[in-house]
């Protein structure tokens, strides 16, 4: 059997296994959310500042909240099985449409963050490990610890104060200059300029993580026999690091990145709220307080699907990085 075919079978099996897992997650989410006191009708009426009893009864009936819990659950499972995410009454819109509108910005921010943080994290990790104990190592380690320990919202606000308010180099918030309505190339540049501050804020945090991980992995690998062998062969330090050590050391980083991607896809409430970035995290956060459970369950479900998918990709990527690992 060819490798490609084995891989395909492996993917198919993993996907089949994912179905009951996702269904279980959906049911658990539904039940967990029932623990929160108050319902969407209360919040909507609460926001209106006043309401008549008839209005509240009308809302509850419309949301299906007047049905017994078991029926609501049954209805929800039925919906999930046909991949219908339902309707958000709060937004008067289908959940799928709401999520899709936010998914783009989320993926853009998260993708950029992932590339920046993994890229620079690996570079800095290797740079530190190659001169252990030197001033360079100390500097990188201090930088990593500081950026890991600093609260994200503070970093975000300080970047706004410096680069937006003081220097006036970059826009403070949003994904586009809303009043301009740019098209084409101008729009891409505009979005990119808006992306800089949130992406840097978020990357600093994750980069610290990858730097530490990479440094440790490189150090560990450097002491192994194959490195000694390579050195005995007369390879240069640089070549040993690039061709041999990094390739082996990157495995734990990829594992970690896979797990973090799950987090990233859920969005970052803090960065989204500081920079007004239209992502999924803030939407989920607001839906929780509004008890908009249809929407919240939808976001949970989409996130769960993406996590399953990303994990599968990570597992597959192992087989490319290290030929000794086989997909079975």
């Amino acid at each position: 059997m060819g490798i490609a075919r084995t891989r395909l079978r492996y993917v198919a099996r993993r996907l089949a296994q994912a179905v009951p897992i996702l269904l279980g997650i959906a049911v658990m989410n539904f039940l967990l959310l029932q623990l929160a006191p108050g319902d969407a009708a209360t919040v909507l009426a609460g926001e209106a500042g006043s309401a008549t009893p008839e209005y509240m009864a009308m809302l509850r009936q419309r949301f299906g909240l007047d049905q017994p819990l078991s029926l609501q659950l049954l209805y929800y499972v039925k919906q999930v099985l046909v991949l219908d995410l339902g309707f958000s009454f709060r937004h008067n819109m289908s959940v799928l449409a709401l999520i899709l509108e936010r998914l783009g910005p989320t993926l853009l921010l998260m993708g950029t963050t992932l590339v920046l943080s993994v890229g620079f994290g690996m570079l800095l990790g290797v740079a530190a490990a190659r001169r252990v104990g030197s001033w360079r190592d100390s500097l990188i380690s201090i930088l990593a610890i500081v950026s890991y320990a600093t609260p994200l919202f503070w970093v975000g606000l300080m970047l706004i104060v410096v680069f937006s308010l003081e220097l006036d180099w970059l826009p403070a918030t949003g994904m586009e200059s809303v009043a301009m309505f740019y098209e084409g190339w101008e729009r891409i540049v505009d979005v990119a300029r808006h992306l800089v501050l949130p992406a840097v804020t978020l990357s600093l945090f994750y980069m610290a993580l990858y730097t530490r991980l990479m440094r440790a992995a490189v150090l560990e690998q450097s002491g192994l026999d194959y490195v000694t062998t390579a050195r005995a062969k007369g390879l240069t330090d640089r070549r040993i690091t690039v061709r041999h050590v990094v390739r082996n050391a990157v495995l734990p980083v990829v594992t970690m990145a896979g797990i973090q991607t799950g987090n990233l896809l859920g969005g970052s409430v803090v960065v989204e709220s500081v920079f007004g970035w239209p992502g999924l995290g803030l939407l989920a956060f607001q839906s929780l307080f509004a008890r908009d459970f249809n929407l919240l369950l939808g976001i949970f479900f989409v996130s769960a699907c993406l996590v399953v998918l990303v994990n599968l990709l990570v597992d597959l990527s192992y087989t490319f990085l290290d030929p000794r690992i086989e997909a079975r």
Partner: protein, 545 residues
């Protein structure tokens, strides 16, 4: 958007030359003269106003929700039958005139004939009939209350609407603004499910700005409606609405000029004070006159210790309202004396028991002694859980103040802070609270905003922001019932004055302050706040300065 209008810099320079020229011409009346040309000249056209709305806007269906973000965003698209001046007198809008019959049972509106909706179809009396009977009475949170006496709306011709009432309803004329009662086009809603209309998020009205697009999480865009019935208006090309969840960022964005307007708690009170000192920003508390908001402490009068009037009065005496306003609300407020906001000059009276006295703590101690709550060995009279209304930091600070203050009376207070849904359920459904802070709008007439807190018919489990104290008395019920249907303004006022006296004496609520919200706007724009609804007006008068 092809109207000729000069570029912003050119016009500014011309205005500048003109004003300086006049100022040097007549030194004595310089300040007067400087202003005059701005008024006399044709208002400048063009410009994009970026409005920060907080929290994020869920829908644009103002005919179905009165929540603050929905109204701030959606009101741009709709017009109402009437508008109001700062003293809350009605002015013509879609209705050019109106007449209330002597018995108060018939209200006739003459409608403008030159009004079209954004889709080009004309506005007629059929839209009023449908709007009131089906939409506002059917799906609006307050409509069933405001229009409760309306039995039918007759349409003798396309531009006359006659409201037939079961009883006189003097308060109804106060509920006809574009914010409170938006008029939707009948032809787009009739026969469809009102609650699931696609026009909830793509509003079509007769208002000054027509909806263009909504990028969720980013912005909502409204452009000038060229066929708006007020000729020449609106002046702005466009209004763009945004939400930013973080309050510090909102402040920064206003400072930077990326956004130009926010109100209703859009920036924290502390920041509002600082922003007001910047040359390019204005901070005003005008434009909330029609909300008559009050902040208070609400007692659960069903259970001890607050079933005892003396205990309630003691707490009311213990609060130093001016201190609270100056230190917790940064001066954005006015001492409240009772259930009716002093904005409502017609009905308000200060001639009630005064709880804001220098020896408040002494009086409070004496009342608690009389109520039988003696101090124990460690000086404690009783323990109390104080719930905090979950609408922002001010109320948390206020709770901390209450805790410290009541400690001096020997009442040991535990604070409890929950999220909105949990708190609403606790107070209005489970009735599981002792004392909670709260803030409610009183609106333009006591029938709309005040009765709900004190009338026995509003003791309704599961309905929010109604009589949560559970308190009522036959006499106060009777006074409110009479005032609701009394067409004579003087007699009505007398009824409300007696009501205030009785309620303040009984103190089911300790009224603390009349809220003054700060609105922040960029001085690039003029005439931003032009009515008692402030940023919830249609904003058809806003122009570049």
């Amino acid at each position: 958007m092809n109207e000729p209008h000069s570029g912003p810099t050119g016009t500014t320079r011309r205005n500048f030359l003109r004003t300086t020229g006049l100022a040097t011409a007549g030194a004595a009346t310089a300040s007067l003269m400087v202003r005059r040309p701005a008024v006399a000249a044709e208002p400048k056209r063009g410009g994009t106003l970026v409005h920060l709305i907080q929290p994020e806007v869920p829908t644009l269906a103002t005919y179905m929700s009165t929540s603050s973000p929905v109204s701030q965003a959606g009101t741009r698209a709709y017009a109402g039958l009437l508008e109001y001046d700062f003293d809350l007198n009605p002015k013509p809008s879609l209705a050019e005139s109106w007449k209330v019959s002597d018995d108060g049972l018939t209200v006739t509106f003459k409608l403008r004939k030159d009004v079209v909706f954004h889709d080009g179809k004309p506005f007629t009396s059929a839209d009023v009939q449908f709007g009131v009977m089906e939409v506002l009475k059917g799906v609006h949170p307050r409509g069933p209350g405001s229009f409760r006496e309306v039995t039918r709306v007759e349409t003798p011709d396309a531009h006359t609407a006659v409201f037939r009432l079961g009883n006189p309803a003097p308060y109804m004329l106060m509920a006809l603004s574009s914010y409170e009662s938006p008029i939707v086009p009948k032809h787009l809603f009739q026969g469809s499910d009102l609650r699931n209309s696609k026009h909830a998020n793509e509003p079509v009205g007769a208002g000054p700005y027509k909806f263009v697009e909504w990028k969720r999480g980013q912005y909502i865009r409204f452009d000038r409606f060229d066929k708006y019935f007020k000729k020449g208006q609106p002046y702005l090309d466009r209004i763009v609405q945004r939400s930013i969840a973080d309050s510090a960022t909102r402040t920064a964005v206003l400072e930077r000029g990326e956004a130009h307007l926010t109100g209703f708690g859009g920036v924290p009170y502390s920041d509002a004070k600082a922003l007001g000192k910047l040359p390019h920003l204005t901070v005003t508390t005008k434009g909330y006159e029609m909300f008559s908001t009050l902040t208070w402490l609400e007692f659960n009068t069903r259970k001890p210790p607050f079933d005892n009037k003396k205990v309630r009065q003691a707490i009311a005496y213990a609060m130093d309202r001016q201190w609270i306003i100056d230190n917790i609300w940064f001066g954005f407020g006015k001492v409240a004396t009772g259930p009716i906001n002093s904005n409502l000059k017609q009905f308000y009276t200060a001639d009630v028991r005064n709880y804001q006295v220098p020896d408040g703590l002494e009086l409070a101690n004496r009342l608690l002694d009389e109520a039988g709550h003696k101090r124990n060995g460690s000086g404690v009279r009783f323990e109390l859980v104080h719930d905090l209304t979950p609408y922002g930091e001010e109320w948390q600070r206020f709770g901390e103040y209450v805790k410290q203050r009541l400690d001096q009376l020997g009442i040991k207070v535990t604070l409890r802070y929950e999220d909105v849904a949990t708190w609403l359920r606790r107070v209005y459904t489970d009735l599981d609270f002792q004392m909670t802070s709260n803030w409610l709008h009183g609106f333009a007439d006591p029938v709309i905003g005040v009765h709900r807190n004190y009338h026995s018919s509003f003791i309704k489990k599961g309905t929010v922001f109604v009589n949560g104290t559970g308190w009522s008395s036959p006499r106060t019920d009777q006074l409110m019932d009479k005032a609701a249907v009394e067409p004579d303004a003087t007699k009505r006022a007398a009824l409300y004055k007696e009501l205030q006296k009785l309620l303040v004496e009984e103190a089911p609520i300790a009224w603390i302050l009349e809220n003054k919200f700060p609105t922040v706007y960029n001085n690039k724009f003029a005439d931003v706040i032009a009515g008692p609804l402030g940023i919830l007006e249609t904003l058809d008068q806003v122009r570049l300065a």
